[in-house]
């Protein structure tokens, strides 16, 4: 930005303005093309022909009349299309009531706009703008008021009053914030425990039928909840959103198991938490051929035969495994609760309580 062009920008500003603004990097060309002024008004058909004007009036009247008919039809439809157990009545009620109201609205809207566009004057008018900045007089007066207020109150002079006021203003919202603390309890160790206990039977979601190991053929999948979890209990959804498990049987030969988890499965039957370790959606899709589990929310993919490790998608941790065994009657039971918190990560999940 050269000083010279700054000069140019300044000098080009409308004379008489109280305040001259800096044009910055803007270069004003002295030989810019002259503004020819507002384009002359083009006359519309409705301006020059009585016939067209009358037609436009008729159209507007027709549209407003249509609106009246539409609203009247909506009233009729409200009573003429009542609701019953038959769902087709819901469609008819919605459709005919809606169409009536639509006509009532569009008739007014299109009519008014048509009226404005054809019958009201359409020559453009120019009006001056005034600078947003207040005039120098007003600014001086405002400053004077502030100074006077400052003098009368002693706001700048009485430092101790001012500072204690700041302190008071800083502290007074705190009680207003702290009273929100009872919105919820201390999370405590609830995130670390689920409804699974040593010996809890695995049952089918949602009816709670216990599952025998013999019922699982290779490749079959069961959605599982712990026995005793039932919809009538107060914390059913909270418990279910931690305890939901996916039970799958695969060929034991292809199962890669770490030595410490060797006895967590039973003849190729493995149980994994169904709650995604990303943000907690249920990992509900099982691809039989590849043995992959897929979360439908964000497509995190877990390899079931390899400890449910993440092989794709935004998740980072494998799905926690539920150690299981089979009792004398052949029912599947949990050896214990999950040994780590299930579901989405939280910052102290690895901190031992």
């Amino acid at each position: 930005m050269s000083e010279q062009s700054k000069e140019v920008a300044k000098s080009s500003h409308t004379s008489g303005a109280e305040h001259v603004y800096d044009g910055g990097l803007n270069v004003v060309h002295q030989d810019a093309v002259k503004d020819p002024g507002i384009e002359p008004h083009r006359v519309r058909m409705t301006d020059k022909s009585k016939k067209h004007e009358k037609a436009a009036v008729r159209q507007v009247v027709l549209l407003f009349t249509l609106s009246m008919l539409g609203s009247a039809f909506a009233l009729y439809a409200y009573f003429a299309f009542p609701l019953s157990a038959d769902l087709i009545t819901v469609r008819n009620n919605t459709l005919f009531l809606g169409v009536g109201i639509t006509l009532g609205l569009l008739g007014i809207g299109i009519g008014a706009v048509h009226w404005a566009k054809t019958l009201m004057p359409d020559n453009e008018v120019a009006e001056d703008r005034h600078p947003i900045r207040s005039s120098e007089d007003k600014r001086a007066a405002a400053i004077e008021i502030i100074n006077l207020a400052n003098q009368e109150s002693g706001f700048s002079r009485r430092k101790l009053i001012r500072r204690t006021l700041y302190g008071a203003l800083a502290l007074f919202p705190l009680p207003g914030i702290i009273i929100f603390a009872d919105l919820g309890p201390n999370p405590g160790d609830k995130l670390r425990h689920t409804a699974w206990k040593p010996g809890t039977r695995l049952t089918q979601d949602p009816f709670g039928t216990p599952i025998k190991a013999s019922e699982l053929t290779e490749g079959s999948v069961f959605h599982v909840i712990p026995e005793g979890l039932n919809p009538d209990q107060e914390d059913y959804l909270e418990q279910k959103s931690k305890a939901a498990v996916l039970l799958v049987r695969v060929d034991p030969q292809i199962l890669k198991e770490s030595p410490e988890k060797k006895d967590w499965s039973y003849q190729g039957i493995v149980a994994y938490s169904k709650i995604c370790t990303h943000v907690g959606c249920p990992v509900a899709l099982y691809e039989q051929v590849t043995h992959h589990l897929l979360c439908p929310c964000h497509q995190s993919t877990f390899d079931l035969v390899d400890g449910c490790k993440v092989i794709f998608g935004p998740a980072s941790r494998p799905l926690p495994q539920l150690p299981i065994y089979v009792d004398e009657q052949g029912y599947l039971r949990a050896q214990s609760d999950f040994l780590e918190p299930v579901g989405p990560s939280f910052w102290d999940r690895s901190v031992k309580a």
Partner: protein
């Protein structure tokens, strides 16, 4: 006394009423001030109007819904008319949403009006923001109003999300599940915030009631307040107008408020309302009865959030695997934090852009004439890059649907999106900037040489030329009326030191303006007109010779 009485009689009821009101609230002064205020006309100015009117429709339809909706998560057994769900456990919130749909006349219609207008509200507000951005309407004195508008856009998303979760169906429950998972991922305070929000463990029995308070009271109240500020500033600043003959930074050209704008804008409210009503009558939105009540175990494939949340969901999906790491014994979920940070930074850049551009240009003057996007090539290119970034994130929320519908590998689609998120904005920037510069040059050519007329003339010596017609003075003015910014050098300050700030500003100004095409000047046009005149003479001579 008697004078007033006769005047009343003479002019009838209307004048009497007007007199009554004026003597009590002095309304004549207001009308004198605002009654003939000028409003410029352009279709793109209607985008903001659409947003405003769909918000009014939201208030109307939403109020209706509050009379029937019960924001309670208490468990009930459904016994309404919808047979497939009879006997199912569900929350009262979900049951009452079903009852609104199936047992209240016009209930489903109003639910659909409410949902469609919410989608339209955020869409119109977004397009309005883009219009303001690409035409430079955010420049002084409107920077603060840009920020207010930005807050309104974010509030719109908040209103949408809190409302989306209210029916407590499977889909919205999963949406909340994702929010809960994201909150838990925030270090140190995540688990606490989640517990406070849900009143204990997810999903708890409080969240719907709390979201309801936010959705019907706090968020709309904030929207109303910011809307009021937005509109007061609009009146204060007066509307911008597009560059054309007679339109200056010092005037405003358009139609008077009364009667033309009252009729047009008032009518337009009914048109917007009518179109929403039409869509709501014919097209189902959010058929909650298909999903069932919330249950943390099932989920259907191919679920999508409402469109305006899509970009945030996409950001979550595009995070690469295994970003989570341990710092000591603290789990740092970068797979959640990174998308959050990127989204917040993106929003912050949008909010702060006007201040950045003002710092670069150093132009402290008021701007009321809008830029044609081509005349601010780098700004337009930055906007295009931003839109592309947003669009890739948004498309990222549909990786699964893209993969299944187009029979492609999900992994490849996601990988493509991840790469696109970085590459495509750069491509968009370069391409847009080049297109803008090309259009500016085209404008320059038309200003200098006129438009191609399609008339081919053979001159006596055998040369063929196409006759160009000079643009008329009004069209010409549109082509040349824009501000010419030139890059600056880093200059030493009073102490003779070149500060880092000065260097940065020099670099930024060069980035913005080094390729800029200056507006065609009168001198250049006249020089060319002389040349054109010579050709014209030759053409005339050729025509005469033929005769």
């Amino acid at each position: 006394m008697s004078n007033t009485a006769t005047a009343k009689k003479k002019n009838g009821f209307l004048a009497g009423t007007a007199n009554y009101v004026d003597e009590r609230v002095g309304v004549a002064g207001v009308l004198k001030e605002f009654g003939r205020k000028i409003f410029p006309d352009h279709w793109s100015f209607m985008l903001g109007e659409v947003a405003l009117y769909s918000f009014l429709v939201l208030l109307l339809s939403g109020t209706f819904l509050t009379f029937f909706f019960q924001p309670s998560m208490t468990d009930v057994i459904y016994n309404g008319v919808y047979a497939p769900l009879k006997g199912a456990h569900m929350s009262i919130a979900y049951a009452s949403s079903l009852d609104i749909s199936f047992e209240v006349r016009g209930g489903l219609l109003m639910r659909q009006v409410h949902h469609w207008s919410a989608l339209l509200f955020v869409a119109a507000a977004g397009l309005h923001m883009l219009r303001v951005f690409f035409t430079g309407a955010f420049r002084k004195p409107r920077e603060l109003n840009w920020v207010v508008g930005f807050v309104l856009f974010v509030l719109g998303m908040a209103a949408g999300f809190t409302g989306y979760s209210l029916p407590d169906d499977l889909l919205s429950g999963n949406g909340l599940r994702i929010i809960d998972g994201m909150i838990k991922g925030v270090p140190f305070i995540g688990t606490w915030i989640s517990s406070l929000l849900f009143g204990g463990e997810f999903p708890g029995h409080s969240i719907v009631g709390r979201l309801y308070s936010l959705h019907i009271m706090l968020v709309p109240a904030l929207i109303l307040v910011f809307l009021a500020i937005h509109l007061v500033m609009l009146v204060l600043h007066k509307h911008t107008h597009y560059s054309a003959a007679g339109r200056k930074d010092s005037n405003i050209v358009g139609y008077p408020l009364m009667p033309v704008y009252v009729a047009k804008a008032g009518g337009f409210f009914f048109i917007v309302f009518g179109v929403i009503m039409l869509i709501a009558s014919f097209f189902t939105i959010n058929p909650i009865w298909n999903y069932g009540g919330y249950d943390p175990s099932p989920v259907s494939a191919g679920t999508q959030p409402d469109w305006y949340i899509g970009w945030l969901d996409g950001a979550l999906r595009l995070a690469p695997s295994h970003l989570e790491f341990m710092a000591g014994n603290v789990t740092v979920s970068m797979n959640i934090l990174l998308p959050l940070i990127i989204s917040l930074v993106f929003l912050a850049l949008v909010a702060l852009y006007p201040f950045f551009e003002n710092w670069v240009t150093g132009d402290k003057r008021e701007h009321h004439v809008l830029d044609r996007p081509r005349n601010a090539p780098v700004r337009t290119a930055i906007g295009a890059a931003g839109v592309t970034f947003y669009a890739v994130l948004w498309a990222g929320a549909s990786t699964d649907l893209i993969a299944t519908n187009f029979k492609m590998s999900l992994n490849q689609v996601l990988l493509t999106m991840q790469v696109s998120l970085i590459i495509l904005p750069i491509v968009a920037f370069v391409v847009t900037k080049r297109i803008c510069l090309a259009l500016q040059r085209k404008d320059q050519e038309i200003a200098l040489h006129g438009r191609e007329s399609g008339r081919i003339v053979r001159l006596p010596h055998g040369e063929y030329i196409e006759v160009h017609e000079a643009a008329n003075e009004y069209d010409l003015f549109k082509l040349v009326d824009y501000k010419d910014y030139q890059p600056t050098l880093a200059r030493p300050n009073a102490q003779g030191k070149i500060t880092i700030r000065a260097r940065m500003r020099a670099a930024a100004s060069s980035f913005y303006f080094k390729d800029s095409v200056s507006p065609t000047t009168q001198t250049a046009i006249e020089a060319n007109a002389h040349h054109a005149h010579e050709i014209e003479e030759q053409v005339q001579k050729a025509i005469e010779n033929q005769k």
